[in-house]
Symmetry: D2
């Protein structure tokens, strides 16, 4: 199981009046990495919905903020899927600035039927990646 | 024609690393006032779409930034509709901190058929308010 | 210990293409309630920093998303401080739509010396509220 | 004078309940391109402030929304500086999806002394680029 990572640059829009990235905005960075993890497997969420009738929904988020990111920082966001039954998956995610760990997070995502919004079996490629 | 106004408080989420409200976030404040102007007329955008098959779309925005707003500021956002044909309306909008003008804006909004996305005649109450 | 609550309206800015509030944006709602909890005690964060040399920093966030909020929803955000030593405090927070629980969260906030960024004893009124 | 361009991917965070990019969020894309235009000249805004005592402030924004961007779109944001006196500069900016023009904007930015916040002569490299 290899670890996926995605680069994120910090812009003015991400910072707050404390001069650091606003605590809620790290969740954007985390989602970009999850979306790009999917895209790296050739899957867009729009296509998943249209073709497979699947949509993802975040069920829970646990975030530990260790050090703040600042304007102009070049960050790396990692994304490592972990097994969590057949209809949901956990992503262990971290944000680094160089070697320095800024944040780690555990994000649980459910797979839903796009019409009924009921739990649905994950696509096979996600189940395999999370094993 | 009376002027509508809506109060907005500045939170951390609205500010950027410069210690002032991020320039793009004022557009959120402007939209809250437009949405509340509609709601004050008993109209929600969800209902407009479901019942009248109408949706609004911003066509252009001209904003002059005069003075910056800061954390904890209590702002007032005004909203004054102005005639612009039958299928669009202009909102003259201002943001004040007390008596002090911080920003003025001209926002042009088109009325669209929610299905075809083609121009559609504005609801009567908007046309009357904009006269 | 009484529970503090703060009303939040959902606007277009808060929603995403799935038609519901974006998962990171609930953290904005949670912070508005914490800020207003302070303000209800006569304390602004600007004044805390200028007068007492104190600033707050979120250390961790655990959020359970139970049901999604939608455009135009009128939400209630609660905020209940809980003891967590002398230099940090936990806020148990919930978001409701009417009686319906949409989200609950546990937010741990550290009190820092604004100059040195080292842990600092919480203001007395916070310690008392969290007992 | 060559035109600078910067790629932007549309994520969930950028969209709203209408299924398209929220009108205020395009201003984020525009700023990323301006910031990267500076960075391509070897200049970070943090360094400008620390070394040259300069900060930039947006004075006005005129935006024409032509077509909406959607989730997963790969956009290109252009940035072309234009002369506007010695203490401010205009950026003509456009957002494309492939060959298709989605938005054009005129953004006027003032150069300020970071301490006094009074107008200050632009750095030479900006004046030259804007000629």
């Amino acid at each position: 199981m290899t670890q996926f990572s995605w680069p994120v640059r910090v812009y003015w829009e991400d910072t707050d009046g404390g001069g650091i990235v606003y605590y809620g905005n790290y969740l954007r960075f985390l989602e970009r990495a999850r979306t790009e993890w999917l895209r790296a497997r050739g899957v867009s969420q729009g296509a998943l919905r249209a073709d497979a009738g699947i949509q993802f929904s975040v069920v829970s988020v646990n975030v530990s903020y260790r050090r703040p990111a600042q304007l102009d920082d070049a960050l790396t966001v990692t994304c490592e899927p972990q097994a969590d039954g057949r209809a949901s998956v956990r992503f262990a995610q971290r944000i680094f600035r160089g070697e320095e760990l800024l944040l780690d997070a555990d994000v649980r995502v459910a797979c839903l039927d796009a019409k009924t919004l009921r739990p649905k079996r994950l696509p096979e490629f996600v189940l395999e990646a999370a094993e």
